[in-house]
């Protein structure tokens, strides 16, 4: 680790830049603007990748959209596959066969399982287990393998089970093509059903053990929980028609920081009424906001924390027990406000995903061979909304008479959290960063806070991108005077 000494002169405007932000999914940089006193004045999260899907999909046949838009993200391709196919179902004006819907749900839950396992074990467990200030060269999944091989192996196993179920259904772990407009292109056979049902009890054991372990660790992170993004925001997610935890379909719900319902049972295709998008000069990631409150007051969070705050219940036995325990994290009876508890929420959702997959796979009709509705484009505009691991994902397409795409808007799960992530960086930096005396562990806390959100910058870079850690000291004229780089 190479730390430079920062001149403590009183007249300098200084910027700390964390570049790249590591152990997150994508390309980004954090910059902290320091006041003369060394206090953090401003904090920015820069997404540095931009790809332009919204433009280059133009002119493509709509049937290509699921395969194309899945390439926004290799971590949650299934979410794009689903949101895209739902937008296409809307273009076809069909409702898909019930078995197809259940099969799509299983694939979505398998992805929730693998993606949450990746976030918890591969990316965040090094901070939680090895410590924020531990040796950066060891602070990664390989370091966890060396220190706690059993836990690392369990994490790997859990993710593998999710990925294997995706592969069994879709033929590939990453970018499967089995989901198609109108349903899925192949029914499930009984051998695969049995094989999946055989894997899930082991997954449930690992998930419950991890949850139990993490519960014992939470009190140790009291300080982090108080500073990792506790600002009041609203929470947005889908809920089922009964108000339960939902990832595939249902209606949009928005709760405020006190837990009052602001919007409920909003049909997903009505999202443009409540969600707007803004741009800031410093990031390729856009800033969605709740339209009736304007920008930037209409700040909200999405993802596991929002989903658990919004759901009246999970609807599966062990997840409901865990949900009740989750609510106890917040002392007043309102929504759980600290973004640190995204980790907790993720573990609850892992349990839910496994229990729900078991239920769906045991469903009598799951082997039914009617799994696809066939039609051609019957509408010129289609909207598909699903809950990705990181939050609500929206695909919105228009086509011409020949079925070619004429316009696309994608609102990506991580994007919804953009305002909240920026405010959280400011909060965590205020609490831990002293501009007069920098340490690597301080800066790692800033990054670790970002990891709570599990941002998927690869998604966000459909229009946005990549995260890099260095600290730059600039004078008022913007000249770089000194630079701190975090080395392995």
């Amino acid at each position: 680790m190479a730390l430079c000494t920062l001149p403590g002169t009183a007249t300098m405007s200084r910027t700390i830049s964390i570049d790249p932000v590591t152990r997150i999914e994508g390309h980004a940089r954090i910059s902290l603007q320091l006041a003369d006193s060394g206090e953090v004045e401003d904090a920015k999260f820069h997404l540095t990748q931009f790809r332009g899907f919204e433009k280059f999909c133009e002119g493509r046949p709509y049937r290509e959209m699921p395969a194309l838009t899945a390439r926004t993200c290799g971590i949650c391709p299934v979410s794009h596959l689903l949101a895209s196919n739902k937008a296409c179902d809307d273009l076809l004006a069909v409702s898909i066969p019930p078995t197809a819907e259940k099969l799509r749900r299983i694939m979505n839950l398998a992805q929730l399982l693998q993606s949450h396992a990746l976030s918890f074990f591969h990316l965040s467990s090094p901070d939680l287990l090895l410590g924020w200030d531990s040796d950066p060269a060891q602070r990664n999944i390989f370091g966890v393998m060396a220190q706690n091989p059993e836990l690392a192996k369990q994490g790997i196993k859990l993710r593998q089970i999710g990925q294997t179920i995706i592969e069994m259904l879709g033929g590939k772990k990453i970018h499967p093509t089995w989901v198609v407009p109108g349903g899925v292109n192949e029914p499930l056979d009984s051998a695969k059903r049995e094989a999946m049902l055989e894997m899930l009890p082991n997954a449930l054991t690992i998930a419950k053990d991890t949850y139990a372990l993490f519960k014992t660790m939470v009190p140790r992170f009291k300080d982090e929980a108080e500073h990792f993004g506790t600002m009041p925001t609203m929470f947005l997610s889908l809920v089922s028609p009964k108000g339960q935890l939902e990832h595939y379909d249902g209606f949009l719900r928005l709760k405020d920081a006190e837990g009052r319902i602001v919007e409920d049972m909003v049909t997903p295709s009505d999202y443009p009424r409540i969600i707007g998008e803004a741009v800031e000069d410093f990031s390729y990631m856009k800033f969605p906001y709740y339209k009736p409150m304007g920008y930037p007051n209409g700040i909200y969070r999405v993802g596991p924390l929002a989903r658990l705050n919004n759901a009246d219940s999970c609807g599966t036995p062990f997840a409901d027990v865990a949900l009740a325990e989750f609510h106890m994290l917040q002392e007043d009876s309102g929504p759980v406000r600290s973004s640190f508890h995204y980790h907790y929420a993720r573990l609850v959702e892992i349990i839910f995903a496994i229990e729900m997959m078991q239920r769906l796979l045991k469903d009598q009709g799951i082997l039914d061979t009617r799994v696809r509705a066939r039609a051609r484009g019957n509408r010129t505009e289609g909207i598909g909304v699903a809950e990705a691991p990181r939050g609500t994902l929206m695909h919105h397409y228009k086509i011409d008479d020949a079925g070619l795409i004429s316009w696309v808007d994608l609102i990506i799960a991580t994007g919804h959290n953009n305002l909240a992530m920026n405010q959280s960086i400011k909060q965590v930096a205020d609490a831990y960063v002293d501009g007069n005396k920098l340490s690597e562990g301080m800066l790692n806390r800033v990054e670790a806070m970002i990891r709570c959100y599990d941002p998927c910058l690869s998604c966000a870079s459909h229009a946005f991108g990549q995260m890099p850690l260095s600290i730059e000291l600039k004078d008022a004229a913007g000249n770089t005077l000194d630079r701190l780089v975090r080395d392995a």
């Binding site: 152990r23 820069h46 931009f50 919204e54 971590i75 890099p468 080395d487």
Partner: protein
């Protein structure tokens, strides 16, 4: 001869490898991270691999700078902005062997689909048309896009090409093992474009 030395000989790399584990660096440029996820899909084989290689720089670890001498550099994604171009050159300079992993790195794939469009229109759709307030094109602390997206070898020389979108974990394991053991890999026997 050590495994690393063999790997170096097999590919006519000129510098002597450092003693110990094979140093591997990975980076994703303009890709979807799917190729990196496929790397993680090696699952429990990662544990064995960790005994032979050391990941010295990667989105999976906390190093913020690329060491000056790396044995194998693996690049996912194509070259789309100024930063990508800079990083690709840095990888070429510091890695004995450079691997293009996945179709985006090998031929431009999905990112290159923007090439037929004028760059301004790509920006305009995302940041002016599809936006409700603060319409503007970001420029502060974000790298400018290049006019055209290129595969990695459009910018620097590449030693090993692994097509696939993404190449499977088995493919990556086979080729990485070849490199570690000093065999010349034959990617085309284990993967194909669009695999």
């Amino acid at each position: 001869m050590t495994a690393q030395a063999q790997a170096a000989t097999a590919t006519q790399a000129s510098t002597q490898p450092a003693a110990g584990k094979v140093k591997v660096a990975t980076i994703w440029l303009d890709g979807c991270s799917g190729c990196h996820m496929s790397f993680l899909d090696m699952d429990e084989r990662l544990v064995e691999l960790a005994e032979k290689i050391e990941i010295v720089f990667s989105p999976f670890v906390d190093a913020k700078t690329l060491p000056s001498q790396v044995d194998v550099g693996i690049i996912e994604g194509s070259i789309s902005n100024e930063e990508d171009e800079h990083k690709a050159r840095l990888f070429r300079d510091r890695c004995k062997l450079l691997v293009s992993l996945g179709d985006c790195a090998v031929n431009g794939n999905v990112p290159a689909m923007r090439n037929p469009f004028k760059l301004e229109t790509v920006y305009e759709r995302a940041y002016l048309e599809n936006v409700n307030v603060n319409q503007q094109i970001p420029t502060d602390g974000v790298p400018a896009l290049l006019k055209t997206v290129r595969p990695v070898h459009g910018v620097v020389d590449v030693d090993v090409f692994i097509p696939g979108c993404p190449p499977s974990a088995d493919t990556i394991h086979t080729i990485l093992s070849d490199l570690i053991e000093g065999r010349t890999p034959e990617p085309i026997k284990v993967t194909r474009f669009g695999a």
